[in-house]
Amino acid sequence: MRTANRTWQRLAPVALALCLVTQWVRAAEPPAKPSGAPAAVAAPAPATIAAPEAAPEASAAAPAGDATGEGSTRALDEQIQDLKQQVVDLNKDLFVLEEELLFPANTQVAVFVSMDVGSFFGLDSVTLRVDNREVINYLYTPREVAALVKGGVQRLYVGNLKAGSHELVALFSGKGPNDRDYRRGASIKFEKGVGAKYLELKISDKTRRQQPEFEIKDWE
């Protein structure tokens, strides 16, 4: 028992010293280097993955390239383009995997915005509340509004919800008819089941009433 206590007393300061050194090393790590570094960090991994495949290609290309300098340069260019394409494909796969990991289909809820307006409403911002909790307040720039008016559909929000009943409330702010401040809301109660849920916030003109209309559609 005494021996155990003595050992304990000797080890504790050592553990403390190790932890302090670890914290110091973490704090002393240099910050991320500008511009070129991330590309340089990302590039080596695919390059090393592709290296075994590229090596036989390179060795096969070398004898052919030896014949003319142009041939070897062209082969090198093709290899570089292949590597670039592999990096792009990897990046795409990683993005898809990240989406699936963060927002699995059985809990995913996505809200989209579309506009079909002329002169009755100039969108400034949209605020979303899901089950009385504000999840996003998005400000729109003139460029984004122009893209929506041209027919673009924006994925405004993606999140996770448990299965069951939920309520979505959307508040639209902007300039209405006669350039006056305009603020309108729309809400929908929906059932979240198994599978992703998609909702669309539609802003459209109602010429008969000379007013914009806001509705929420459920993509069932």
Binding site: W8, L11, A12, P13, L16, C19, P31, A32, E144
Partner: protein, 168 residues
């Protein structure tokens, strides 16, 4: 007593290990946090829409006399280098946004005066004193951060020109 010291050391070691990560403000070299803010004169401005241009973010307050003096110098800088791709965005950190709006409308500038209503942008950039200016390069990375009252001197202009000379 030795036993207590040993246990204290172990406790401190454990606390050091489980120390919560405190998010650091943006440092030089990092990607500039994107944001969208309303302008005092209407409309919204988003930082990422200026990718490809050099952006000068100037944090100011109507209570700060040095900041308001700096704004006129920034206007001259903007006029000189606008065609080369310089964009200046002034972000107000006033608590009273009506005062900031009145000031902006009374002192029109050649660049947008943005209102950081929720202070999210100033927190993201770690603004602790005024005036603070941030230079963002064409790739969207923070390159220079100045948080003193040296103002827009020759060395600052040299920094701006260095970034403008850097092609995307």
């Amino acid at each position: 007593m030795i036993r207590c010291f040993g246990r204290s050391c172990l406790l401190v070691a454990l606390l050091a290990l489980v120390q919560p990560a405190v998010p650091a403000a943006t440092a030089v070299g990092e990607l500039a946090p994107d944001f969208a803010l309303p302008a005092a004169t209407g409309g919204n401005v988003r930082l990422s829409e200026h990718r490809g241009e050099v952006v000068l973010l100037a944090f100011w307050s109507s209570h700060c006399s040095v900041c308001t003096a700096q704004l006129s110098l920034l206007g001259d800088l903007q006029t000189t280098y606008r065609s080369a791709g310089l964009v200046t965005l002034a972000v107000s950190v006033d608590d009273d946004m009506h005062r900031a709006t009145r000031y902006a409308q009374a002192h029109p500038t050649r660049f947008p005066m943005l209102l950081d209503l929720r202070k999210g942008v100033s927190r993201a950039y770690g603004v602790e004193r005024l005036p603070t200016t941030v230079l963002i390069d064409r790739r969207g990375r923070v390159r220079f951060l100045q948080s003193d009252d040296r103002g827009i001197d020759n060395s600052y202009v040299a920094q701006v020109r260095e970034l403008l000379d850097d092609p995307l």
